[in-house]
Structures are given as structure tokens and as C-alpha cells.
């Protein structure tokens, strides 16, 4: 079943130089394996297209049922150099909430 990421997770994003980071947190511990399967670096990079010029790294925090995504060269130069309105990537986490994921019905039982 296709659904937006927002169904199973929430996010917060920010900057470190020209790297945007997005924390992705499962709403329930049982959703964490779905995050691991669906929120892959390749899919995240494809989702943001030309907004992210470099690679996407993914780190796992099983203790928090969360992922940390690093979007390299993701802020148009970053900090004060970037000409973007959202030069600090504050809204990129929200953008990711609309990414479509594929989940089986059975996986959403709490």
C-alpha cells in the first residue's frame, strides 16, 4: 500500500555548512524497520532531485527508532553563501514527509 512517510514518522531538519540534516523518527517502535527499508539514501536523493548536489548518508539510531540523513551539498552553498530562502534547510524535513513509501497492511498494527 502506498502512503506518505508522514503516516509512520516525523522529522526535523537543519544545517551544518552546506550539509542539510534530516532526523526521521518513527511514530512507533514497530515502524522503525519500515524506515530502514523505505527511507534509503538513494530514494531520498532521488526525491530531492537537483536540490541535493552531493551524496546522501544515512545513520541509524535504533535506540531512538530514528534515522539521521545527511544531504551533502544540499543547501546551495550553505549558511550565508546560499541564495535560497531556506538556506538552513529548516523545511526539508517537512518536504520529506510527502515522500511515498510502500507498506503492507500488517506492518501498521501497533
Amino acid at each position: 500500500m502506498k502512503m506518505p512517510l508522514s503516516r509512520i514518522a516525523h522529522t526535523r531538519s537543519g544545517d551544518k555548512g552546506d550539509i542539510a540534516n534530516i532526523g526521521v523518527i518513527a511514530w512507533l517502535p514497530s515502524y522503525y524497520p519500515i524506515l530502514l527499508r523505505e527511507v534509503t539514501p538513494a530514494r531520498v536523493k532521488g526525491y530531492f532531485g537537483e536540490l541535493v548536489m552531493g551524496e546522501v548518508d544515512r545513520f541509524e539510531l535504533p535506540n531512538l527508532h530514528a534515522l539521521n540523513l545527511l544531504l551533502h551539498r544540499g543547501l546551495g552553498g550553505g549558511g550565508t553563501v546560499s541564495l535560497r530562502t531556506d538556506a538552513q534547510g529548516k523545511t526539508l524535513g517537512a518536504a520529506l514527509l510527502a515522500m511515498e513509501i510502500d507498506v503492507d497492511d500488517g506492518e501498521l498494527t501497533d
Binding site: I19, N21, L83
Partner: protein, 444 residues
């Protein structure tokens, strides 16, 4: 147990927050984080213009406003308000609050040691790009090393009511009172890491207590009176994040998780001057309304290198906007952008980058934005940057003429010609720890 509250997440944060933290219930320490990465360069310029400036000017009047209560309630303040001139900041605080003892921590400012470092063979390559510092040597505006919590704890040990530093690791402001009161040593890695994690959670102020939080934000209690965070720290490293009663916002483990992940890199190695914290070891537990307990944090040895934050002049930029209304608002805005680019090219002007966004269409999310159809209005924002200030200045003349020379229905130019702004860029680099000597001074 000691209570450490953070009342400022950046310079420009809510002015009432620290006052409310002092008034709203018991706290032992009040921390205030004023310094963003580029703040130092702004302060450096202010100091060049006036040797008595170069610090967070909001800070001395704030301390004046709460001085009596700080004394009555024996609350100590730890703040990086010193910027590039901690001693002048301390004198201003003494003037605003003559009854308080003020100590400063010095040694973070390495602007006049850059050539010495380069001469010793430290290339100070940009951590992100790998370029050597020599490529921007003549454009450096400020240079500061992130210092840790131990010198701040040493300053608290003088009995100071107010401890002022310049550049320090943000979370060190919160760790310092724990080191001071609990007697933690540099090899108490797990405890130090725990203190750093607590500091990371509260260093952005209300961003861990309901602000900028996606968790059921529509039902967030009383945003207008949002409570800033307080850490209740234990000598064994355990802590609880909470806020004063009868304040707005919310503290729960989901919101705290959002803040734990905010602006971090590899979670297994959160590097600070005092310890390397492993964020994959953190355990959280909701123990009551607006109470989250953190425990189990592990840490490793402090790094041999310290991070320096160097700012430099990186050219000029300007952004101009125009609004186009229905019908064909998006099409009109895109034509306006094309015309502008063509005119700039015909003028023979060169820029490092020209960037266009359409508010209401894609300004925040770019190609990932959800599609919109036939909106009632759109704002186009065109920005340029480059090393030639005259070219950037000429660009600022090209937006408003579009109203009479481009597509129909252009408006929203009331604020006039855009401003040309200097770009002060940030250069993160590493310096061997042994090069940096901090010292504490009590300012009479």
C-alpha cells in the same frame, strides 16, 4: 540534583524567556547561548569600529534587569555573550549590575595567531571542502576556537555570579555547572557525554519544549507562553528535561528526539572539546507530564584537535522580489525571471550564481514541492551573488522596471530597491588542542 535552564537559543531569541525562567520556579543555573556561526564576524566588525563593542549587547541590560533576583535566589549565569570582546562585556555587566561578581574565560580568539599557525605548518583545511586556509588568508574577518566546559567550570569555581565566554561548544554551557558541582574529571567520559546530551537537548531553547515541533503541533498548549527547558542533572549523569509549571509548550520523548537529531552528523561520534558522545546509546523515558528522563549515555576520549570557526569575506549578494497576480500568475513570474536574466546578460554582468524561486510554488521545497495549479498570486524572488559589488548593485536596479516593461499585473515593489549585502562565509577547521590555552579572569 541541580537545575540548569537555558533561556536563549541564539542571539535574537525571545527576550522574555530568561526573565521567566528566573521568576517561574526554582533553578540553580541560567545558561544563555548567543553565538551562531556567523555572529562572531558581525561582532568583530563592531569591535573594529569601537573597541568597547563586539559582544552580545542584549546581555548586560538583561543581567541588570534580573540581578536582584539572581542574588536572592543564588542563581548563577553562564553565557557565551562575550563574543569577540568578553572583557568589555564583563565591564558592561558590572556597570549594569554592580553587586554581581563576574568572571570571563579567555583564549578562544585566535585571529592574531593565524599566521603563527600557518607558519607552524597547520594548514587549517576547510573540514567540508578540504581547501587550505591560505586560499582565503587575506579575507579572514574572525577566527575562534570552540572551547569546552572545563574552563567554564574553573570560572564558576571562582564564586562568580556571572561567567562570560566567547566561542564555546554550545552544550558546554550546560555541562560546565555539572562539572563544577559534581566534581567530574576529564576521564569521566560517560558522565561528560551525558551532560553534553542534556546540553544538546536544551541549547536551542524552546525547540525541545514544543517550538518548531511536528508532534501534534495544532494542539500545542499555549505557544504564546511557551516554557523554556530545564535540565535536572544528577551526579551520576542521569537527567530529566522539564519546564516550569503553568507554562506553554510540551516536553515529551518524541519532541526531545526531534531536538536530539537536530543538526548532528554521525550520531555515534558527536564530537565536543570535552568528550565524544555516542547518541546511539541514549535512552529516553517519559516519566510524567512534561518530564523526559535521559540515561545510559556513553562517551569516549576527547579529540586531540579542536574545531575553529573562521569567518571570511566571500563577496556580495542581493535578492529582489515582485508579485504577479492571477490570471497566469506563475507564467508571468517566470517570464519576469527570463527578462531579468536576459537584461543582466546584455549588460555584460557576471555573477557566481543567479537563483530564482517562486513563493507559493517552490521556494522552500524546490523540485520536491507539491504541484500547485493556477494560484491567485505568486511572488518571484531573484537573487545574485558574486565578487563584483558593482554588478550586484546594478542587479538591484533591474527588478522594479519590470512593472512597466514586463508582463501585466506586477506589484509588491513597495520596499524599493533591494539591499546589497556582504557575504560573510564560514570556514570550519581544526587546530591541535595543545596550541590553545584558556585562562579565567575575574573582572572587578
Amino acid at each position: 540534583m541541580i537545575r540548569i535552564a537555558n533561556g536563549q537559543g541564539f542571539w535574537g531569541d525571545w527576550l522574555e524567556a530568561p526573565v521567566r525562567l528566573v521568576d517561574g520556579g526554582p533553578i540553580d543555573y541560567l545558561t544563555l547561548d548567543y553565538l551562531a556561526e556567523v555572529t562572531m564576524s558581525i561582532l568583530q566588525k563592531q569591535r573594529q569600529a569601537d573597541p568597547q563593542l563586539g559582544f552580545a549587547r542584549d546581555f548586560p541590560p538583561l543581567i541588570g534587569r534580573i540581578a536582584k533576583k539572581l542574588q536572592e535566589r543564588r542563581i548563577k549565569v553562564v553565557a557565551n555573550a562575550g563574543g569577540v570582546n568578553p572583557v568589555a562585556c564583563a565591564r558592561a555587566v558590572r556597570k549594569a549590575a554592580p553587586g554581581l561578581k563576574v568572571a570571563v574565560v579567555l583564549g578562544d580568539d585566535v585571529l592574531d595567531r593565524i599566521d603563527d599557525f600557518l607558519g607552524k605548518g597547520f594548514e587549517m583545511r576547510n573540514i567540508d571542502t578540504g581547501e587550505p586556509l591560505a586560499t582565503i588568508r587575506d579575507r579572514i574577518l574572525s577566527a575562534n576556537v570552540y572551547i569546552g566546559a572545563f574552563p567554564l567550570a574553573e570560572a564558576l569555581a571562582t564564586g562568580a555570579d556571572v561567567v562570560i565566554c566567547g566561542r564555546c561548544a554550545d552544550a558546554a554551557l550546560v555541562l560546565a555547572p555539572m562539572i563544577h558541582r559534581f566534581g567530574w574529571t576529564p576521564d569521566d567520559w560517560d558522565k561528560l557525554a551525558s551532560g553534553i546530551v542534556a546540553g544538546h537537548i536544551i541549547e536551542c531553547g524552546a525547540q525541545c519544549s514544543g517550538g518548531n515541533c511536528q508532534v501534534d503541533w495544532q494542539n500545542m498548549p499555549d505557544f504564546a507562553n511557551i516554557g523554556y527547558p530545564i535540565v535536572e542533572a544528577e551526579p551520576d549523569g542521569g537527567f530529566v528535561v522539564t519546564k516550569h509549571p503553568d507554562t506553554g509548550g510540551r516536553i515529551d520523548s518524541h519532541g526531545v528526539k526531534e531536538q536530539l537529531l537536530y543538526e548532528i552528523g554521525d550520531p555515534r561520534q558527536y564530537i565536543t572539546p570535552d568528550v565524544v558522545a555516542d547518541f546511539t546509546s541514549i535512552q529516553l523515558e517519559d516519566t510524567g507530564p512534561d518530564r523526559v528522563r535521559g540515561f545510559g549515555v556513553r562517551g569516549g576520549a576527547r579529540p586531540p584537535m579542536l574545531k575553529a570557526s573562521i569567518s571570511y569575506d566571500a563577496g556580495w549578494k542581493a535578492s529582489g522580489t515582485l508579485v504577479y497576480s492571477w490570471p497566469q500568475a506563475v507564467e508571468k513570474a517566470r517570464v519576469a525571471d527570463r527578462i531579468t536574466r536576459q537584461r543582466l546578460e546584455q549588460l555584460g554582468l557576471h555573477f557566481d550564481e543567479i537563483h530564482s524561486e517562486y513563493f507559493g510554488v517552490n521556494a522552500c521545497h524546490g523540485p520536491a514541492a507539491r504541484p500547485v495549479h493556477d494560484p491567485p498570486e505568486v511572488q518571484v524572488r531573484i537573487s545574485v551573488r558574486g565578487s563584483d559589488k558593482r554588478a550586484v548593485d546594478r542587479f538591484t536596479r533591474e527588478m522594479i522596471p519590470l512593472v512597466l516593461t514586463g508582463p501585466p499585473g506586477g506589484t509588491g515593489y513597495g520596499e524599493g530597491r533591494p539591499e546589497v549585502r556582504q557575504i560573510v562565509a564560514y570556514w570550519p577547521a581544526l587546530i591541535p588542542r595543545g596550541e590553545i590555552r584558556t585562562r579565567v579572569e575575574v573582572v572587578e
